[in-house]
Amino acid sequence: MKFEVDEFGYYGQFGGAFIPEMLYPNVEELRENYLNIIYTKSFQEDFHYLLKDYVGRPTPLYFASRLSERYNAKIYLKREDLCHTGAHKINNTIGQILLAKRLGKKKIIAETGAGQHGVATATVCALMGMECMVYMGKHDMERQRPNVERMRILGTKVIPALSGSMTLKDATNEAMRHWINNPTDTHYIIGSVVGPHPYPDIVARFQSVISEEIKKQLIEKEGNPFPDYVIACVGGGSNAAGAFYHYLNDEHVNLIGVEAAGKGIDSGDSAATTALGKPGVLHGSKTILMQTEDGQVVEPYSISAGLDYPGIGPMHAHLFDVGRVQFMSATDDEAMNAGIELSRTEGIIPAIETAHAVAMLGKMEFAKDDVVVINLSGRGDKDLETYIKWGKY
């Protein structure tokens, strides 16, 4: 598979493991063991059992008839929003907690932006009886209050990240610092396809269940596994990685990644990494990064806490670089309008992150028989306050 990570941890020119020596043994331990552990029979049995009976997989591939009529195409929604905890994030945390247990780790740390990955991590830690600490930007804690309380109810300690813009990037810095200080008994569950190798590959593999299911479900519904388009939002890019994964080598399938343009790509308040970024190193990997000329990381902005990350996963950087994935963007307003539209046409209130992907329907031209799959990565319950504040409904 030519889009897969190579033996050195690279996707083309992106990836690698740019970590301080203090983290080397942890990351090396993972690198040496992850494939062996993940592909044992007992791991696969545990993983698929939990995905089925605990998470509720397979998630439906729902034919959105009213939306299809409006946009003159066959639009399917991959209902990751119906996963336990309300988003695709739990696919990865189930996998990683099983991995952590097999590595003999006792404690779990994680970072979170919107709080979905934090909740998914807190959930699996409760399930497995493991101690859990989640770093979350103070600013995000304020705008995602319900998720903070959900984590606390689940028994997780939520620690505010007070540095920088106090959002996802800073929470990730703090989680990495914690890991440096607690290297032996702690596993760091990274929530997106970012970080040093092998994290991007681990997360992509656990999320790849999404496209594995889409293929099967499309055979049932359309008689062949290949849609014309797969559309997914990209912050770090975990749901997109999962939705694209098994289509990467099927190059007749158009893959669309949607970034958050915030108040507009050139407004100075944006998180559209591929439009605004350059190659650089952050959080342990070489990727495309929003930064100043002097290599300082730029604080991103988006109305959605899950997309305001200044980079994208190295796999996406490579897919962008070689043109396998087309990257588009939606502004705050476009995303919010799309969220309301999906609510009114299909009775589904999406997460604001997800609404960015939905917003592409109004920006693309489809042929009548085009099969379009939108990865509906999360539900909008956590975003009610943002919807209310926005108010235009």
């Binding site: 203090m22 043994p25 810095n173 190193v281 002097d294």
Partner: protein, 256 residues
């Protein structure tokens, strides 16, 4: 003075002092370096500020933020080193995260750093394999030494590989931690220093992270060639009303 000359001439009690360029004020880099040499420091380690210093604790994080707010850049720092070199002769090392260096351009950075009078670099998030593959030839070409970190969790085999790839000294991180002052050493830390001493590495090692006073300095000097002090010095700079006096008192208080 090249680093190797220093390590040939001085085998123990070497003091390397870290501070962030452009902190507390943009132009302080020059005066602090000069005072450090006058006060008796052996090596000056100047931090290139970065927005996301993941290996650093709160004290150095804050100094990075202030330096960036002051307008410090790689370009300005290299110009300051040129000024420093007019008066300062002890080895100068630049320490920083890899991204600002990548954006400046590796080759351009190595060339200009060398011309300015920099002796070596410490880039904690540059992995050894990357160094060997992409960076080493440029470092060598421009006469810059590279220093790798090792920590208590680094395996003996890897320490040997790092020793082989090193041309000046090894930076032994005292504990599994981010930077910052701590009180005292635990038995396992002392055992780790003793192990390093017994390994008879071809390069000398300096111990850093958690060295903040004479007691911790002299303790690690029983094992290695010396120590690196960072956060404790940054705290002094932050509160100083008289840099010259405070820097002299600080260096004296460490080496005594």
């Amino acid at each position: 003075m090249p680093l190797n000359k220093l390590f040939e001439a001085k085998k123990s009690n070497i003091l390397s002092v870290y501070f962030t360029a452009g902190f507390p004020m943009l132009e302080d880099t020059i005066i602090i370096a000069k005072h450090l040499e006058d006060a008796g420091a052996d090596i000056i380690e100047i931090g290139i500020p970065f927005s996301d210093p993941i290996a650093d604790g709160p004290v150095i994080q804050e100094s990075n933020n202030i330096a960036l707010a002051n307008g410090m850049t790689v370009k300005k720092l290299l110009a300051q080193v040129v000024e420093i070199r007019k008066e300062v002769s002890i080895p100068i090392i630049l320490m920083g995260y890899i991204n600002p260096v990548l954006q400046y351009g590796i080759e351009r950075f190595c060339k200009e750093a060398s011309t300015a009078g920099v002796n070596g670099l410490i880039l904690p998030d540059m992995p050894m394999d990357e160094y060997q593959k992409t960076f080493r030839s440029l470092f060598d070409k421009h006469g810059l030494s590279n220093t790798f970190l090792i920590s208590p969790t680094t395996s003996d085999a890897r320490i040997k590989r790092i020793d082989d790839a090193t041309t000046s000294f090894i930076y032994a991180v005292s504990s599994s931690s981010t930077t910052g002052a701590k009180s005292g050493f635990a038995d396992e830390q002392l055992a780790y220093f003793a192990k390093l001493k017994a390994m008879n590495l071809k390069n000398p090692f300096l111990v850093g992270f958690g060295i903040s006073n004479h007691q911790s300095f002299s303790k690690v000097c029983e094992y290695g060639a010396g120590a690196i002090v960072g956060s404790a010095f940054i705290t002094i700079l932050k509160n100083s009303k008289d840099l010259k006096t405070d820097i002299q008192l600080f260096v004296k208080s460490i080496v005594q």
